[in-house]
Each structure stands twice: as structure tokens, then as C-alpha cells.
Symmetry: C2
Subunit: 198 residues, 2 copies
């Protein structure tokens, strides 16, 4: 016996979420079936709202329900400093540390030629325009230290070099709270390379 | 920094699902944000559809988009045999075995006095009415063999005894494919008790 068609449709919607297989999707769909109508309606409406009222900030490309976003509109933040991240989640992680008072630029991806992601597939043109339009003194490259993030940082550095701005890359090294003995050779190599006089 | 309000709303909706914590909910909400609008709209519409067009079959109380449900409407199935299960998922599991050709009754829960679930909180009245209205020869109790499922079966057997129908309980014993040495004492006790001549 098959599930009724509307139940099947909901299972399929859940199963498209990352990390949710068909079994979990079925469990979640049956939960919705068993729970009250208000929840399903609020859920449906929040799914729509996120698409209707959240767009990209025209300056920094972050997800926002206002344009410019809260950070770009904040007079207390230094717009001459632009921290470039691959992803919205990376920006939120840096914001959680709370010590950064500059602006951001969200690329929405890393360059990944093997996956068909070239410079036009990420928000790189917008970054170059921002840098070209003056007002930017420093571009901080905060893409990840995996192969793609690193390659993206190197590529961007090459592209914006002509605009005569300071280009920095966040430090790579041993994370706080970690033991040297458990670190992989590449991390230790980077940590040695980046050593500073104290 | 906080997520924009519409994003927060969606995170909260996801976090109400069973087994989904705040971190996973955030990941899923950002997935929806990053994915295409069609998906979000189909998801929202399937959430509504499941509430709008799926109700309970007026005979067997199963979830269905038609009334009576496909099984109750199937002339090929023996309506005089009613298999009582706690949950829609249990019914689907028995249907998967495909050897049962009778009808069902879904209780939507087990009696659990400690959690405040009494006879009025599950679809018991509807079962008694069905049995009382004649046409039922056998009630097969297929609630689980955990404490609550077992107590529910015993309670139902007591309630429908006056109606002069055959009341059976599905067998408890060693599952197919299992080794005797790994079975717990209660299962082995049930298996011994339920032994049959061959």
C-alpha cells in the first residue's frame, strides 16, 4: 500500500533537504500529519516569507530583509574594511566573535572549476566593482583553508591587486584549545610559516 | 548579530520537528534560502495540502485523502476482520508484509495513564462502536509488545469481550533471523509460552 498522494508529496519535499533520507522524511511528514494545523500553516508561511522578503543586500550580497543590510547601514562600522567570505554562515560565525567592526562581502560559493563553478558563478564581479569604486582600503580574505577556499582567495588577490588596496588573508594555524601533537602536518607548516615575534 | 526575522521564523519552524535541534534547523533554513523559489513554494504547498486534504477515514481512523479510505473501500478485503494498531506507521508496516487481507482500526496512540493518555484520548470509542454495530467477527490486537502497547491490548480485550467476537493477539516471540542466545529472557519466555505443535 502507498501513502496517500498529499502525504507522498510532503515526504518528497522533506527528502530534498540535505541530510534527510526517505525514512526520516517519512517520519517528519507523519509528525506534521499528527500535529496541529497551526504549526503546518506557520511552517508553510515561514517558507514563503523567507523567499518573499529575504533578498541579497545590494552592497555586501548578504541575505537580508532590508537593503542595505543592517551591517552596511550601520554608521558605526568601518566600510573601508571589507571581509570576504564564501558563505552567509561564515559571516555569521565571524559576527559571533564580535571583534570585527568592518563590512563584509559574501561570495556565495568558492571557485571550483571541477564542479563548473567559475568566477561568474560567485559574487566576484560585485566585489571588484566595490573595490573599483574607491572607499575600500583593505580587503580581508576569509575564505576557508580547504583547497577551494584557498584557491579562491589566491584568485581574488590577483584580480583586485591592480586597485591598490591592502589585501590580507586571515591567519592559518593551530586552533585555540588544540594540542600540537594532534595537529596535521599542513596546519603545523602554516603555523610555523605564520609565526610572529612576541 | 541576529539572523533576519524571516530566517529566524523558518529556523523555529524546522526546530519544532522531532530530532531536529537548533543547529540542524539553521542549516536547513539556510538550505531553503540558498535553493530555488519553486522548491520552497512546493514545500509550503505540500505542508498545507497534507492538512487540507488528509483526514481520518470515518471507519478505520487511518489517515486518508478519501473517505472511506482505499482499504475500507476495497471490496476484496474482509471487513469482518479488524486489525487494531496504535499508529498509522504500524498499519503501513503490516501492509508491507502484504499477507493480511482484512481491515484495520488505528487507535492513534496507546493508553498511558502516567502521560495522561486515557481511553478518551485514543480512538477507542470508534472501535467499540464498530464492533457493536455487528459485521465484525475477529479483532486482532496488534499494538506493540512494550508495556504501554501490551496494557492497551489487555484493556481493549476487556472492553470488547461482551460483544461476542473472537479476540486475538498477534504472536510474540523470537524474530525471524535472530539467534536464541542473544534474545532477552522476556522474549524467550513469550516464545516458550506461545509454542505450537508442528
Amino acid at each position: 500500500m502507498q501513502y496517500a498522494e498529499p502525504i507522498n508529496r510532503l515526504i518528497k519535499s522533506f527528502a530534498k533537504l540535505p541530510g534527510i533520507g526517505e525514512k526520516t522524511a517519512t517520519r517528519l511528514a507523519l509528525f506534521v500529519l499528527n500535529t496541529n494545523r497551526e504549526y503546518a500553516e506557520e511552517f508553510a508561511s515561514s517558507l514563503k516569507a523567507v523567499k518573499d522578503s529575504v533578498g541579497l543586500c545590494s552592497r555586501c550580497m548578504t541575505f537580508s530583509d532590508v537593503d542595505p543590510c543592517v551591517i552596511c547601514a550601520d554608521a558605526g562600522r568601518d566600510k573601508s574594511q571589507v571581509c570576504v567570505v564564501s558563505d552567509y554562515k561564515d559571516m555569521m560565525a565571524i559576527e559571533a566573535f564580535a571583534g570585527y567592526r568592518g563590512a563584509y562581502h559574501i561570495l556565495h560559493g568558492n571557485l571550483a572549476p571541477l564542479k563548473g563553478v567559475g568566477p561568474d558563478e560567485i559574487k566576484l564581479k560585485e566585489l571588484v566593482e566595490r573595490v573599483a569604486s574607491n572607499g575600500v582600503n583593505e580587503v580581508i580574505l576569509a575564505t576557508g583553508f580547504d583547497a577551494e577556499g584557498d584557491a579562491t582567495a589566491t584568485y581574488i588577490a590577483g584580480i583586485i591587486k591592480p586597485y591598490n588596496v591592502t589585501i590580507t588573508r586571515i591567519a592559518s594555524g593551530v586552533p585555540v584549545g588544540s594540542f600540537i601533537e594532534y595537529m596535521d602536518p599542513s596546519t603545523l607548516g602554516r603555523a610555523m610559516e605564520g609565526r610572529r615575534t612576541i
